[in-house]
Amino acid sequence: MSQSPLPPRALALATRGITKIFGPMRALDDVSVEVPAGSFHALLGENGAGKSTLVKCIMGFYGADEGQVLLDGAPVRIDSPRQAQAQGIGMVYQHFTLVPCLTAAENLVMARAAAPAVINWRQETRGLEEFMDRMPFRVRLDKQVADLSAGEKQKLEILKLLYLDQRFLILDEPTSVMTPSEADEVLTLLRGMAERQEITVLMISHKFREVKAFCDGFTVLRRGRVTGGGDARTASVTEMSRMMIGETELRERAARESRGLPRPRLVLEQVCAEDETGRQVIENLSLTVGAGEVLGIAGVSGNGQAALVEVLAGQRPMSGGRLLADGAPFTPRRADLDRYKVFGLPEEPLRNATVPRMTVAENMAFRSFDKRPLAGRFGILSPARIRAQSRDLIRRYNVRTSSPDALIETLSGGNVQRAVLARELSGNVDVLIVANPCFGLDFASVAEIRAQIMDQRNRGAAVLLISEDLDEILELADRIAVMSEGRLTPAMAVETTSRAEIGRLMGGH
């Protein structure tokens, strides 16, 4: 691995004054970025800052309204990802572009522009093995992509670009599906290749730790404009985050009231669950959440968290184990959810917690529409009272909607989140289950939603917080457990653990 026979042919790329307008919004405004050959450049910014739009302009998904892209100093015209590929620019997307039913080898061979009409697998496999030997990390060639872990898929995506001889790699948050150690391994190796002038890397990220550890240059985008840049090795994290979020104060750890030993409210005993193909995705998972505490479950996505939330929401059957609420057996059905005052905010609430084509008012009434006071004596619903209640909730929870009668799918992500929170938190809450509550939200909404969760905890609710964002867990949780490959570690008090230890557990060690 020390010797790589790849010739030093890294590409330099620069954008000059790129502007992209979507309707009334300037998604990019005069953006110029300089990425010299052989550098490892970070593109920083909050969600919605324009990072993805910029790289999509470079890749030819969008035509920029103004500005140009220079490759090794010469202007190039790129109208499609195919042309970008032909120029040597390759991108790893956040969603995977591998075909699940094909093996790794089949995916690599078919990615070539001219795959042979009849494939001689013996010869191809030999060629691929030789290629893998030259590569800094490897993936089993004969395995079906559907059976690879998310981290392995990400590695295979990167290998695919190198196999196609792309010398300018754009990585869109490549480490979001990797364990910290996997991420370090891959980034170290890519950095090594960049240092040897074999490739140039442009990485979209919002993890300061990675940017500090692996990148040399960085550019910060905010609301479509470049708000700063420099040398990632010398700039401080505070400087970078100020460029990212402007002059707003950085969040403090949420205020909390401490109390004595909590009473167990929600208990999971040896819970097991399977996916559609019968593979076990949760194995003998046990946990206890007490009144007035937040139990945080950390982990890289795709390790069974989604299945866990589905089990607790009644969307997925358990194949073993049992649930207890307040010491009594509990089935996630409407009657039990009401009796034990269990509420939840699943991830992707538009898909998992709302009916997109129904109005905001109707969606807000899902938990109470058939009960007094919203329903009348014989269970007759009252649209007027449903609307009146939602008007009150919309005001209290600051949901931005044109009217209670707007379809909920017309709301922005943050407002859908607030609408669902309003519905779930408006009554007495004993147990609250939240999954990735702040994913994809802007800074102000994040603070607000975390404050609401903290407020419920302080009022005595048992909160189970499942999140891929370790910072969020460290900010909110009283105790932390880590999920890896469907199993859960014992919970640790947040004071007695460290980021490094959690990271190690996330990798299953």
């Binding site: 075909v99 094909l102 559907a146």
Partner: protein, 306 residues
């Protein structure tokens, strides 16, 4: 039932399995290819009947049954390509279009087939492979139509091609992840159109077997739902062409159950035994809906899987 009666039933079932399975096999291979590309063509029932009628008519008019087989396949290509073309239009559901094509194919066949119900067309000749035996039942059971062997060779070729050729891998890509295939510059609508047309060709050939070999005449009740059962068969075979052969033989044997029992004089429950393939279909649908490995091997773009 005596020992010899049992042998007679057994021979009749084997012979029946080979004869009855051939159209199942062709339709199933066609459907397998189409579904591998991510589309379902329920219209193959109509294609099968149209193929039977076209094959019979061309054989009658030209005097060459093999020309009839080719013409039936040609008719199937037209039907399949039309299905594929309509399905690429936005917001068109392939299952609904398939049902429409089922009726269309049947209707066309009945309309143009009326004059061919009476006349007798030249049939496909079977290969007498039972000459080594003195037993007339064995001779009859082993008088096999060459199309049966063509079908088996096709199944092997399809199985090999889906793993070892660019075209095969492209079909699987399109059927499993249209987004990835599109990102690689594959024209997914064209791939699906071609896969559906090729599937139509095979179903048409299967139809020609019905009218030109076994049962060997053209009538309106010829197919009795075999084209639809073949769709169930593909699910049972988990989209593997080689397993399609085994599944087709199984369906064929089930279909031969009634006639072979009748041949030794058991007419009790004749209609019930004739219904065996349909009962088998139902059982297979129930079993495969519960099968987790079938769910794993299903092409992810299929509208019934999504």
């Amino acid at each position: 039932m005596s020992q010899s009666d049992l042998m007679i039933v057994l021979y009749a079932m084997i012979g029946g399995a080979i004869r009855v399975s051939t159209p199942f096999l062709f339709v199933a291979l066609g459907e397998c290819l189409t579904e591998k590309s991510g589309r379902i063509n329920l219209g193959l029932e109509g294609t099968l009947i149209l193929g039977a009628m076209v094959g019979y008519a061309v054989s009658y008019n030209s005097g060459s049954p093999w020309l009839g087989v080719l013409a039936a396949g040609g008719g199937g290509i037209v039907m399949g390509a039309a299905h594929g073309w309509i399905c690429k239009l936005p917001k068109v559901n392939d299952i609904a279009v398939g049902l429409a094509f089922m009726s269309l194919g049947t209707g066309l066949a009945f309309f143009f087939g009326k004059p061919y119900i009476q006349p007798s067309a030249p049939r496909l000749q079977s290969l007498p492979l039972g000459g080594w035996s003195q037993n007339p039942q064995v001779q009859q059971a082993l008088s096999v139509n060459p199309l049966f062997f063509v079908g088996i060779l096709l199944a092997i070729a399809l199985w090999w091609g889906l793993r070892n050729t660019r075209a095969g891998l492209t079909v699987r890509m399109v059927g499993d992840s249209a987004a990835s295939a599109r990102a690689m510059g594959v024209n997914i609508n064209m791939v699906r159109l071609l896969a559906t047309a090729a599937g139509g060709f095979l179903a048409g050939v299967g139809g020609a077997f019905l009218s030109l070999s076994y049962p060997g005449s053209w009538s309106e009740g010829l197919s009795s739902g075999q084209g639809l059962m073949a769709v169930a068969l593909v699910i049972f075979a988990r989209w593997n062409p080689l397993r399609c052969v085994l599944a087709a033989l199984l369906f064929g044997a089930a279909g031969a159950l009634g006639p072979s029992l009748q041949s030794i004089g058991i007419s009790y429950g004749y209609h019930f035994f004739n219904a065996a393939p349909y009962i088998l279909t139902l059982g297979i649908m129930v079993a495969s809906a519960r099968s987790k490995s079938a769910a794993k091997e299903a092409p992810r773009e299929l509208s019934i899987v999504k």
